[in-house]
């Protein structure tokens, strides 16, 4: 076993593993985005995640191990259990849901103030850009007061989880800041 894995790492498998936490309110499109990011993904409709889902995909020399957390209200308190060794956070925001934007803000503040979250890069997906009443990333950033975030490198990207639009831009940024950090 040990020998085998060494062998594997010699032959191209030598991608670096990073742990990423994907959070956001329920129905913001986390699982859809993750699903889209996986290679050879067949089309499927997502059902609400219960607890969390474990996914993996590769981007460049990095192998992303993604913890796709459930966004449902009663499971949000469980996010913090996974802050400890997350190397990056992806925060998905449903831009069409202005009504719950304040909840998003609350959750974001709670996350940022948590002691166990290290100074990791945070990528915001301003998701569901295809919808009519979607807010622009700038509006989003303003509303969520992202400019006040000082401890983390962050980026906000307009995206559409269904078509995959904007996803690679965001992940590229993430890969970049991760490799910079190391």
């Amino acid at each position: 076993m040990g020998f085998l894995s060494k062998l594997l790492s010699l032959f191209g498998g030598g991608s670096k593993q990073v742990k990423i936490l994907v959070v956001g309110l329920d129905n913001s499109g986390k699982s859809t985005i993750i699903h889209k990011l996986k290679p050879n993904a067949e089309k499927k409709t997502s059902v609400p995640t219960v607890g969390f889902n474990m996914e993996a995909f590769e981007k460049g020399s990095l192998r992303f191990n993604v913890f796709d957390m459930s966004g449902a209200n009663k499971y949000r308190s469980l996010w913090e259990k996974y802050y400890k060794d997350a190397e990056a956070v992806v925060f998905v925001v449903d831009t069409s849901d202005k009504f719950r934007m304040c909840v998003v803000k609350d959750e974001l503040e709670r996350m940022l103030s948590h002691a166990e979250l290290e100074k990791v890069p945070i990528l915001f997906f301003a998701n569901k850009k295809d919808l009519m009443n979607a807010m622009s990333p700038v509006e989003c950033a303003k509303y969520l007061e992202l400019e006040t975030i000082k401890d983390h490198a962050w980026q906000i990207v307009h995206s559409n989880g269904l078509t995959g639009e904007g996803l690679s831009t965001g992940i590229d940024w993430l890969a970049q800041s991760l490799s910079k950090k190391k």
Binding site: K19, A56, K81, Y82
Partner: protein
Amino acid sequence: MASNAQDNHAPLRAQDGKKDEDDEEDFEYSPFHGIEKGAVLQEARIFHAAQTDSRKCQQVLTRLLYLLTQGESFTKNEATEVFFSCTKLFQNGDANLRRLVYLIIKELPPGSDEVIIVTASLMKDMTSNNELYKGGSIRVLCRILDSSLLQQVERYFKQAIVDKAPVVASAALVSGLHMLRENPDIVKRWSSEVQDAVQSRNPMVQFHSVALLYQLKSGDRLAISKLVSSLTRGNVRSPLAQMMIVRCVARVIADSQAYADQERPFYDFLESCLRHKGEMVIFEAAKAIVELNGVTEAELAPAITILQLFLSSSKPVLRFAAVRILNKVAIDHPMAVSNCNIDMETLISDQNRSIATLAITTLLKTGNESSIDRLMKQMSSFMTEIGDEFKIVVVDAVHKLCIKFPTKFRSMMSFLSSVLREEGGFEYKKSIINAILGIVRTVAESKETALTHLCEFIEDCEFTYLSTQILHLLGEEGPKTSHPAKYIRYVYNRIILENATVRAAAVAALANFGMRVPSLAPRVRVLLRRTLRDNDDEVRDRATMYLKLLGDDATGEQQEPTPRPKVLRGQNVSLAGLERCLREYLDTPMTEAFDMAGVPEKELVPVEASKPGAPGASGSGDLSGDLSLKSDFEEALQQIPEFADLGPLFKSCDAVELVEKETEYTVSCVKHIFASHVVLQFDMTNTIEEQVLEDVSVDVDLAEAEAYEEVLTIPATRLPYGVVAQTYVLLAYEQGTMPFGRMVSTLKFVVKEIDPSTGDEEEDGFEDEYPLEDVYCSPGDYLQRTKISNFRNAWDAQDPDTEVVDEYGIGQRDSLQDAVEAVVETLGLAACEGTEAVPPNARSHVCLLHGRTTAGGSALARVNFGMDRNYEVAIKLTVRGESQDVSESLHAIVAEG
């Protein structure tokens, strides 16, 4: 499986090996040696690493599991911590690691709100293509899913049941068995898939599917017997499944009515199973046959023959199983088993002592008179080799045998006395003594031999309890023998050599000799006089008393012994009464001698008479606990002049607490029922140190109990801290009726504060009230639980016009027995003719109840119980009583409750 387990241990072994290589070769050691919780929890941190090392993680998980199985407890925090770090291991795809993760999620129970976090991951595994993932995740999911989530994944479960991989199918079936308890409705929808799984070629899948199928139908007798008949015809190859079917068949037979003239259903099947290839099936079938209700000798014969073959098997397990069953059968069908006696006798020398013990006791049960002597001889040598618990079994068997063959008591008695002299624990010795006493009771001529053996035993007995018991027996039985004098030496030796308890018992026994055998009296007197200088009070007291009784005034001068004194009336005296008489006597100038004749006798319960006169065995102290309680109440009430003319006390109900625990004042209420009055007795305790209550009474509001009329209230004048005081309320009701109702009651009193520094109470108090819980009177209070032997006659004797019938649903119950107990308790009647016991697995039951009313008449009730599949119990209550009112009151109890 086994090879993987090996893999996990191997690295551990290597690590430890480095530490102490020298010791390693000397002895086999556990790879789990010296695992500590704190250290393992530290190690568990590697689960957080970005690059998980599957090998290392497996080791740590194995250690965690080891700790869990050793019963190590994890605090809530530790468990949560470990659990969440384990969930991160889902990122690693190693199948072995994943399996350990499944195990730890199952074994380490975090809170239900936390465990839900793995649901999505497990569901994903369940739908993956990896069979190992599928099987494992299914087994975990069944632990954590609730019914709403289960419905979401139900179709995956159905698919899994018919999965080609046996691992997956088995896991799904077993999970079904587990979930049947919580979500029976969902699992019941899977029965067609389960039916398919029965056809599986894999033995394990077949076994699990049969088990699940049986459980699915277990509520429905008809479906079960259909299922069993289809299964017995089908070709079920797996021995495990076949064995399961045999068990089901046994249940079906047990549940079905047996008609004497009709052939038992499925018996042929059981018999055919006796010729099965698998030993497991054969054994199960034999066991099923043997345990049949009212099995006949003809039906038994083939099973016994098979078991006899097992007796000479080379496998100890088979020998043990067979001999154990034969041992059981031997009680009811000794003749059927006697064929195996020859095989059984060779087993006495079996290496395995458990087998040997069972063989011997079976032989004792089946043996005939001629073989007993030989067996006894074999046993004496064998007894030294087995443990105490087996010895007890053997001794019991000898006891039973002696009852069967009384003429053989001599050899058995000598066997018992020889084992009595050997080393042994208290329980063992006690069982021997009990066996000897039992033999004495059944075989009169064995008495003298037994007494001699017992005398020898107490010479060297380390158990005080047994010594006193035997001394008592000697005192009772010794004087009746032909040579009472020879026992005196043994008894007196105890006085010289033993501890105080035994000495006191010996003094009593000795005195008995003196009193029963006049010729011995002078000698006993001499011996007793010597004990007057004993250094224990009790012994001296007894000696003095008995000397007096024997007519010795301690000066050595002979007197005419007083006739059999009354003190020896013994236990028939009511202790409470005796105490009261003595107190009264102490108040007098004590010029006359105390007269025992004035002491009331304890009421003798008829049960006592029918008890076998076990000498010195169970004391009669606990004979009538509640009876004496009642008379205590009666005495207390009679001393209150206001209650003197109420007539005899009919019944005192159990005390009911009227306030929550740990409040300022505790109050409990006891209802005393008289022919036309009810006395409410309130026992109150004041738990506040800084207060004294005065003029305490309970105000009862009769607005909702109109049938009563308040006659008078007797307040308690003073209630200081920590003292129990009583206040009474006397209510009148119309004689012969059974009024009921709710009474709102309030405690009223005058509070006086106590100055904590001086302890003086203040002059002026203020009035205050304290609300109490309501007092309920139910018709059941007017009924006395009395059993009658012939319900039928009593029932027919009542006027049929008083009969009132109605039906009630009493909700869900765990079992019918539960329901019966609850109803009997509520009605306040006694169950007659043993109808309070419900046979196991019964779906319906009839209970016969009887009680006595205040007017002296009878109230009879016949309660039909029925239980449906959802454990909902319905009852039909038929009541006859002395009047229509009584019958309707009884219905009111059920309707209210």
